[in-house]
Subunit: 441 residues, 2 copies
């Protein structure tokens, strides 16, 4: 079992084709990631056996995160939000994304999709389900928690003459014990466009993990089946200058003091000049989704006081160690490409459709979708993480640190981040905290 | 006491200056609005005496709505959302809105603001508090539930040298028993830019009502002190055609069947051609905010099955009467200006700063802000309510019906609407339901 692939080890299925992006895999041991286990239960996780995972303990396997999502008024409001087709529109009008899905479905190895059963997790208006049905799937079950989306999906699927192949189910997947005509561990394929802002925003990785564990047959395929999170050093002078000027002239008042709060909410924006990339990109974390299980979505991490924002009040002793559940804790080490000021990091991600490694077996490349700043632009754009102060770096200088990503403390579908950046032995490290709202995509 | 001014009666302080908009005041008796009372308690409301209202029953006065807002994870997420200064930016960059506020503060009658105490309800980044302080207020207490907004407001106010006049308080106003240096019923002025999408979106009218009841001194001034909701008949051909074309070409599939779901979520957009206004505007409801009390924010309304969307399943007997708490239940009667298809209604609103009627007393006009389609455009834009089918109308034809506005069933900060439109005796009335998300502004 590949386990908790948060930048700590190589994956069980290495993609052998040359990637679009450099693959600085982060292999370094990382003591703060104590071990991969259920967030609210000790003694499980890495040591858990495969058989136990695939067994009948479905009812308690996702207590850690999915239940936090479900046991909340927020969850009802989250699904309500998707009632409005306009909210789906930016995704469906993202031609880079839909082209990747169409290419991925068309690239299915013989027998992998033709005549197979497919579960579409968070189907929205049913676009992916229809693409899968048209690409040869025998039967698609499409599930979504939004009543309005499901209502629209049924009309759309009927209008496209695909009602005989696609069954749309309204419900929160974690709460569904039965799906029409299907048994647990019965689907050949689980597919989902679950990826959100900063990849993890929206919290749907937990739902995908549940779907895989409960509904995918042994040896089944997850689409996409590999995602990775990337960062590069960022020069962000123009945008910050523009923000400062904009905030300095509001109804005759200078409100530029808002900037310290502005940067705590990373901007979703696009890199406009290649020179804004101050370093080569580095992969922060990779997830082999075929092996993803609910107990791997969050990992326990020891944290001291040093990752807190310097300006925040310390409510507990600074050196006291605490444990917290995080998505990933990612050490990084960048080398500056030139003399410049480092403003922070630009965050992006990549998804691969390898069909369980079968494409490489045929000598083909996996289908790839990336939000890389220099690739075709997508509706996800990039996430700009600006530090509270800039750092002057010379060419070939090393900048190291850590980025921790975790569910939002108020709304677990948000992503909160803690950044620590070190440069030069004498200086104090820069630390800051951030929140990416899940509403952004 | 002016009571529940939801289109049922004239107001206690009529504005005598010529309004920008026609003032078709809706005086008709409206049997479905049974009476104005607390939403969850019988026997109060219209018959309640002034003394009782201003008395010491603060703790239970807003049980109906404010407590529904507060007793929810949604509330924490709502305030979290305002941590991000970017969310405030569209409001602060709305020059029509900020100009109205500056003009309103500058227009204060002698002694009404100079040297006075002001409570800013939902202060955000403190813009209005600073404008009030610069306009002469002796002391401003600015309250907001967003920790991030309050943090930024304090920095901004300090940078502008106004910390001696403005005190920023972090908290949910309904939960605050004390404000620094102030006593209940002690403020000379309560001001708030509480207005949201479709006026009522965001649910802040309930918070304003609480603030007025608990903190405003007898005879104090509310800014703005009069708001009204307006509608006109809408020709919306181009936008619907554009939506249909856009949805008919998604990744090679025709998804235009989504349109029936699309129109349930009224578009925030601008009227681009005057001819889209198919009728003169009509005022649907007016609120005299000086008289607003928590028990008036929602009123009980008898509803039968006929206001439900025709396509929705009837879970209860169609003729069974139910009671529901609504913001306003607004009968309307429009006269078509020409031969055309009626697509629905365009909704907009107006706010007046009358300084408690003092401006008229001085022979001056109240300061006015409007989202009227033919006035200067604002970040609120207009709300387009499209019907499930269009109606052909001839010039001078009458179209009548009712628009009911109420808090969202999932998130009470949303606004849900029920529309009934009648035209011609023989035809079935058109009924439809809508939801405006509070996230829109």
């Amino acid at each position: 079992m590949a386990g908790c692939l948060t930048g700590r080890r190589s994956t069980s299925r290495q993609v052998s084709t040359p990637p679009l992006l450099p693959r600085h895999s982060v292999e370094a041991a990382h003591p703060q990631l104590r071990r991969c286990r259920r967030a609210q239960e000790a003694g499980t996780g890495e040591d858990e056996e495969e058989g136990e995972e695939e067994g009948e303990d479905d009812d308690d396997d996702d207590i850690s995160f999915a239940s936090r999502l479900a046991a909340s008024d927020l969850n009802a409001a989250y699904f309500r939000r998707w009632d409005d087709p306009a909210v789906h529109q930016s995704m469906m009008q993202d031609r880079v994304l839909t082209a990747a899905w169409r290419e991925a479905l068309a690239a299915a190895p013989p027998g992998a999709l033709e005549g197979r059963t497919v579960l579409d997790v968070g189907c929205g208006l049913g676009l992916l389900s229809m693409l899968a049905a048209k690409a040869g799937a025998a039967r698609v079950v499409a599930v979504d928690g939004s009543e309005g989306a499901v209502d629209a999906a049924r009309r759309i699927i009927k209008a496209n003459g695909l009602s005989d192949k696609i069954t749309v189910v309204h419900g929160v997947l974690e709460e569904l014990d039965e799906l029409p005509g299907m048994s647990p561990s019965g689907f050949d394929v689980v597919m989902s466009n679950w990826m959100g802002p900063a990849l993890l925003g929206g919290g749907m990785m937990a739902t995908l993990a549940h779907a895989i564990k409960k509904w995918l047959r042994p040896g089944g395929v997850v689409l996409p089946d590999r995602v990775s999170l990337w960062a590069a050093g960022l020069e962000d002078r123009d945008a910050l200058q523009e923000a400062k000027e904009s905030w300095s002239r509001v109804a005759g008042l200078d409100m530029s003091a808002a900037l310290s709060q502005v940067i705590k909410h990373p901007r979703r924006d696009v890199i406009t000049r290649k020179a804004q990339l101050l370093t080569a990109p580095q992969r922060l974390a990779v997830w082999d989704l075929t092996e993803l299980r609910p107990e791997h979505v969050l990992v326990m991490r020891r944290s001291g006081g040093r990752d807190r924002n310097e300006e925040e009040e310390e409510e507990e002793g600074e050196e006291e160690e605490q444990e917290e559940a995080v998505y990933a804790s990612c050490p990084f080490r960048f080398t500056s490409l030139r003399d410049e000021r480092l403003f922070g990091l630009v965050l992006f991600w990549e998804a691969l459709w390898t069909w369980g490694g079968a494409l490489e077996g045929e000598g083909k490349s996996p289908v790839r979708f990336t939000t890389h700043p220099l690739a075709s632009s997508t509706h996800y754009q990039q996430i700009m993480i600006d530090m509270p102060r800039t750092v002057r770096v010379a060419a070939d200088d090393e900048v190291s640190g850590e980025l921790v990503l975790k569910p939002g403390s108020t709304d677990p579908r948000d992503v909160e981040m803690q950044l620590r950046v070190e440069h030069g032995g004498a200086q104090q490290p820069i630390t800051a905290s951030y929140r990416v709202a899940h509403l952004a995509v």
